[in-house]
């Protein structure tokens, strides 16, 4: 068998170690293990790297503790706006989407944009219309709601601050200008 390899991430930052309880740490690790196992099985059986990354990321999107798909964070308006992209190293073809609110697996939409839209990058409601045309699964706001992300939003919603995926500190919106 020729060599294959796979790596996944579920975001950077992380809460302070002494605040990470064993039970929750195990849940995170289970989410990572499930996702990488799906991708690895595809590679082991001779499947493509493109199928592997799409499947692993879909699994991570379906896991509510990570900030994507089902566990997406709240915007200032209390909505969810999700972005995703995918790229094929053989052909350098790519697909990307931003600002979609009701697509269960935005990475699958990114792949369909790459393969079926004739474009590279679609955004917002019209990207959702393309997803509908492609018969991708959609869901209402209740699907994307998690209590933890809601609480995170409540802490900062009246401020100009925002937060990264896994953090106990607030960022000021001016910082990005360096």
């Amino acid at each position: 068998m020729k060599k294959y390899a796979i790596a996944i991430h579920g975001g950077a930052g992380t809460i302070l170690r002494h605040l990470m309880f064993t039970e929750k740490e195990n849940m995170y690790k289970q989410g990572l293990q499930d996702a990488i196992t799906i991708g690895e099985q595809i590679l082991k059986m001779g499947g493509s790297s493109l199928d592997a990354v799409e499947s692993s990321v879909s699994s991570l999107e379906n896991f509510p503790l990570f900030n994507a798909g089902k566990g997406a964070v709240f915007t200032n308006k209390g909505t969810h706006e999700m972005d995703a992209s995918i790229m094929d190293g053989l052909t350098l073809e790519a697909g990307a989407v931003c600002g979609v609110s009701n697509i269960k697996n935005p990475v699958q939409l990114a792949r369909l944009i790459k393969e079926k839209s004739g474009h590279v990058f679609l955004s917002g409601p019209d990207a959702e219309a393309f997803a509908h045309k492609m018969s991708l699964p959609t869901a209402g706001p209740e699907y994307f709601y998690t209590q933890e992300r809601f609480n995170q939003w409540q802490e900062v919603k009246e401020t100009d601050s925002y937060q990264l995926d896994h953090t106990d500190k607030k960022e000021n919106s001016e910082k990005k200008f360096g």
Binding site: A7, A12, S49, V57, F66, T75, M82, A96, R149
Partner: protein, 134 residues
């Protein structure tokens, strides 16, 4: 943010990234995850990359393509390119986060400059590894 990079048995690389963005974001803000070359990139001649972190910095540093370019044009290894971009360039800019990367030989790098990064990796020769902190 979540992401995945992979090398298949035919030597083809791929990368994907997906995110809900930042809590309390406004004005239709878009980060690096959906931007090819910033948060996601794959090229069979070099590597596949998926990033996570403070997107504005990753966009300005064109992180994913920068690593590929350092390998393709300057001859750096995957580790050298990743360490330079994440632990020197991004740190100097003030950008917090990390990335996962695989090259065409199956080497894996997972550098980050934040407190931790939720990550897992495996190749056909080694056991599955899962880590959160350093």
């Amino acid at each position: 943010t979540v992401g995945c990079v992979a090398l298949d048995q035919y030597g083809n690389l791929a990368a994907a990234t997906s995110t809900g963005g930042m809590t309390n974001k406004r004005f239709g803000r878009v980060g690096d995850s959906s931007i090819i070359g910033a948060g996601t990139y794959a090229n069979n001649n070099t590597c596949a990359i998926s990033c996570t972190g403070h997107g504005e910095y990753f966009i300005r540093a064109v992180v994913a393509y920068d690593i590929s370019c350092l390998m393709e044009y300057k001859g750096l290894s995957l580790k050298e390119a990743c360490d330079f971009v994440v632990k020197e360039k991004l740190v100097k800019m003030g950008g917090e986060g990390g990335l996962i990367a695989i090259d065409s030989y199956g080497n894996i790098e997972l550098p980050f400059n934040s407190a931790g990064m939720y990550r897992a990796w495996k190749n056909s020769d080694t056991e599955l590894q899962i880590r959160i902190y350093e």
